[in-house]
């Protein structure tokens, strides 16, 4: 941050955010990085599960516990709601936090007042939940006629199965994304994480911004219904057309093709070290010639089986074994650099430690921003993967802060956003509405 604060793309936009878990919070994180003021409505009695799920951000000098190491019930008893590691992935962008009990009449009244001063309301509950609290879209519209209401839940709010629920792996299975990760003729390997929690969140942010453009042109708000399925179908779209046009399904022998993409050699090859790998991807004749030259023209590269791209693809298994005899004695980054020097696409298979500690490109691009949260202190956190020349995004949002401690911004929201006098705040506290 320079001395003079740059303008932000979404300066002045206020988002009242009821999202929990990953999917919706990814969306509002993007808005926060772009300068929107995102106010999380939370509960101290039933905190967002990712606030209290492992891995936990350790106390200084301690080592935390990995995901899956404890149940929620244990976690809630043992842990502060400000140490759940996953929360710190999805709630940057300078989000604010206030605890409000929507089931308390004074709490509901407070939420209604917050809706009236917000541009956008976001939520990720099961369809109908907000309505049961008395905050359905028609009510939101009464409170704020041009409100943009974006709901984000598994199956969306409309349709015969809208009561179905998803997590990332569910949506990945149902939309074909799981099927697309695997070696030929083996059961799908799938994704070991929730790719679609991200994708659903991206389309949630896109939905907010599309509705904002429409509101700017017409003055009208709307309800945008985002599911976790529809954002994903386009990701395998050509295969949908293969069926609708050609009647051909991708449930067939040899598909998916592992790491092969129509080139050879192409794939992940073992490198020096324990479970270390490097990707080399030769998809053109020029790549092959450069690859051979970089290896110093070993004799096997003259083999007739590898004379043309078509021949190399036909003999890809034999070629892969020979390539691996070269890579497996070399450091993965050394292989990457050797290839990149001659223009062959190549990259080390990096894990999270590599991205944080080694990757010089992520470091140069300031991919991680060290931001402080009140209880856990500073962490290197991720925001959006782009720069804007006039309105630079800030992973810490307009207030350049890490994710909020639970209920951290009560005074700000009540005093500055709503302008409530101290005596009214005292009444609210006494009513039990703020928990």
């Amino acid at each position: 941050m320079g001395e003079t604060a740059a303008p932000t793309a979404l300066d002045g936009l206020r988002v009242l955010d009821f999202c929990r878990l990953g999917f919706g919070s990814q969306a509002t994180m993007i808005l926060g990085c772009l300068g929107a003021e995102v106010i999380r409505i939370e509960s101290t009695t039933r905190p967002d599960p990712i606030r209290v799920m492992p891995p936990f951000v350790p106390e200084p000098g301690e080592t935390g516990q990995g995901f899956g190491g404890a149940t929620l019930a244990q976690a809630q008893k043992q842990q502060s709601p400000n140490r759940g590691g996953i929360f710190y992935k999805y709630n940057t962008g300078g989000k604010r936090s206030i605890a409000v009990d929507a089931r308390n009449p004074a709490g509901l009244d407070l939420l209604r007042r917050l809706v009236a001063v917000s541009d956008v309301v976001t939520e990720s509950f099961a369809a109908g939940t907000l309505g049961r609290w008395g905050l359905d879209y028609d009510t939101l519209k009464e409170l704020r006629p041009d409100v943009i209401y974006v709901s984000m839940c598994g199956y969306g709010h409309v349709g015969p199965d809208s009561h179905y629920v998803t997590m990332g792996p569910t949506a990945q299975a149902l939309t074909g994304l799981t099927h697309l990760v695997g070696l030929p003729d083996r059961e799908p390997a799938g994704w070991s994480f929730s790719y679609l929690d991200h994708v659903g969140g991206y389309l949630g942010a896109y939905g907010v911004l599309a509705a904002l453009a429409h509101r700017r042109a017409t003055g009208e708000g709307q309800h945008v219904d985002v599911s976790q399925l529809e954002p994903a179908t386009a990701l395998g779209g050509p295969l949908v057309l293969d069926r609708s046009v050609n009647g051909r399904s991708s449930r067939r022998a040899g598909f998916p093709p592992g790491n092969r993409r129509g080139g050879a050699p192409q794939g992940a090859y073992r490198a020096l070290g324990d479970d270390r790998w490097v990707v080399i991807s030769c998809s053109t004749e020029a790549h092959w010639l450069a690859f051979v030259a970089a290896l110093g023209h070993p004799a096997w590269t003259d083999d007739a089986r590898f004379a043309t791209l078509a021949a190399r693809i036909e003999h890809a298994d034999e070629l892969d074994r020979l390539v691996e005899t070269w890579t497996e004695t070399r450091d993965r980054y050394e292989v990457m650099e050797t290839m990149q020097r001659v223009g062959v696409p190549a990259g080390a298979v990096q894990d999270a430690a590599d991205r944080v500690e080694r990757d010089p490109q992520l470091a140069a691009r300031h991919h991680f921003t060290r931001l402080a949260s009140t209880e856990v202190g500073e962490l290197p956190l991720e925001g959006v993967p782009f720069e804007l020349s006039v309105t630079p995004p800030d992973t810490g949002g307009a207030i350049h802060r890490g994710p909020p401690d639970l209920d951290e911004d009560r005074d700000y929201v009540l005093g500055e956003v709503l302008g409530l006098p101290d005596d009214e705040i005292a009444v609210l506290v006494g009513s039990g509405a703020l928990q």
Binding site: P49, V199, Y202, A213, D225, S227, S244, G347, D354
Partner: protein, 376 residues
């Protein structure tokens, strides 16, 4: 009803698989003009093709999917390309800094006559940094970004990347988000700007809690296959039992097992204790497999869902065409007799839709160039 971006002019000049960015803007009503070289965009050379038309530049289904709703202009000189771009509100391209400058398509040159221009540049590594000029395809981006390290069958098999350019698609999606934000800023101030999207960073930020796991525990995540059960018909089902969401999860799960008579040892009240369940997770999976043995995949998935569990049968992308829920939501749309994937979001106030089929190569060259000649 109007589209959210009605009247916004977008020009796309891309040779990486980021055409999804323009697709996302076209669906909102923007007029998207695609500049292609005489030999056609790279995606016209990628299959699958309409059966019997292999290699036909107007018959690539990859091109169709990512370019529906756009117009195609063949331009083979930079001067004309610059004129087409200069008339736009938004230009999307994939040229690194030196290539863009050499062709006069960099943001400074293009915005010389229009300070409101938004340039969205999507490159493998972004426009700056030590790897800015490195070569990458999706496989390389998925390796460097981190998904491959954790996806696969385990350490005996290689790390795997998902089919279908997922890192590029993520970068393209972020490109569309950034364009929308930049257009909102422009609507308030009149000022355009340069958007610099790094596909590497997009890929690096899609692995959920993995960086946090490393920071919290000191160890990165291992590579593993997401567990499934095998249904009676051989289909795999992701049968999640997310105990962490609360005690109702196990209650519903147990009731479903008991209804089918396969609860077995889970009927022991000891399993009411979440700590016991955490220790005996193998028993939960074994009971799920007993249930799976009795049902086909589609049926098992719906059985779980009706019990409130986030279960999903593993389908292929094309099998989504048969999904009753997606069909009821109008997700698939017919354009010139072809069924396409439609809106990624349901926005009834400004519906996402495509006004035209995928363009033939150069179909709109004359129309677009003639428009440039007309006084505005």
């Amino acid at each position: 009803m109007t589209g959210a971006l009605d009247g916004v002019k977008v020009v796309e000049l891309v040779d990486e698989p980021v055409e999804y960015c323009g697709r996302l803007l076209a669906g909102l009503g923007a007029e998207v003009v695609k500049i292609e070289p005489p030999e056609g965009a790279a995606s016209r050379h990628a299959g699958p093709y309409v059966e019997g038309r292999d290699g036909d530049l107007d018959a690539s289904l990859d091109f169709w999917h990512f370019n529906v709703g756009k117009r195609s202009v063949v331009v083979d000189d930079d001067e004309t390309a610059r004129r087409v771009c200069a008339a736009a509100d938004v230009v999307i391209h994939t040229l690194g800094s030196s290539r863009a400058a050499a062709r006069g398509l960099d943001h400074e040159s293009l915005s010389a006559g229009s300070s409101g221009l938004v340039s969205c540049v999507i490159t493998p590594f972004g426009l700056t940094g030590p790897w800015a000029d490195y070569a990458a395809d999706d496989l390389v981006l998925m390796a460097l970004g981190g998904s491959m390290a954790v996806c696969g069958y385990g350490t005996d098999d290689p790390p795997l990347a998902c089919w279908g350019d997922q890192a590029w698609l993520t970068a393209a999606t972020y490109g569309a988000i950034a364009v929308l934000a930049a257009l909102d800023f422009r609507a308030r101030t009149g000022q355009g700007q340069l958007i610099d999207v790094s596909a590497h960073q997009a890929s690096a930020s899609m692995t959920e809690w993995h960086v946090m796991t490393y920071l919290c525990t000191g160890s990165p995540m291992a590579r593993f296959r997401h567990p499934t059960v095998t249904a009676r018909d051989g289909k795999q089902v992701a049968a999640l039992i997310p105990d962490f969401l609360g005690p109702h999860v196990f209650t519903h799960f147990l009731a479903m097992l008991e209804a089918d008579g396969v609860a077995g040892p889970l009927a022991d009240p000891a399993f009411e204790d979440p700590r016991h369940r955490a220790r005996g997770y193998g028993e939960l999976m074994a009971a799920t497999q007993r249930l799976a043995d009795r049902h086909d995949g589609e049926e098992l998935f719906r059985l779980g869902q009706e019990a409130g569990l986030p279960w999903g049968v593993i389908r292929t992308p094309d099998e989504t065409l048969d999904d009753r829920h997606l069909r009821a939501r109008g997700h698939f749309v017919e354009i010139d007799g072809v069924t396409h994937v439609g809106a990624p979001i349901v926005a009834n106030g400004s519906p996402f839709r495509f006004d035209r089929p995928p363009p033939r190569l150069g179909e709109h060259t004359r129309e677009v160039l003639d428009q440039l000649e007309q006084p505005t």
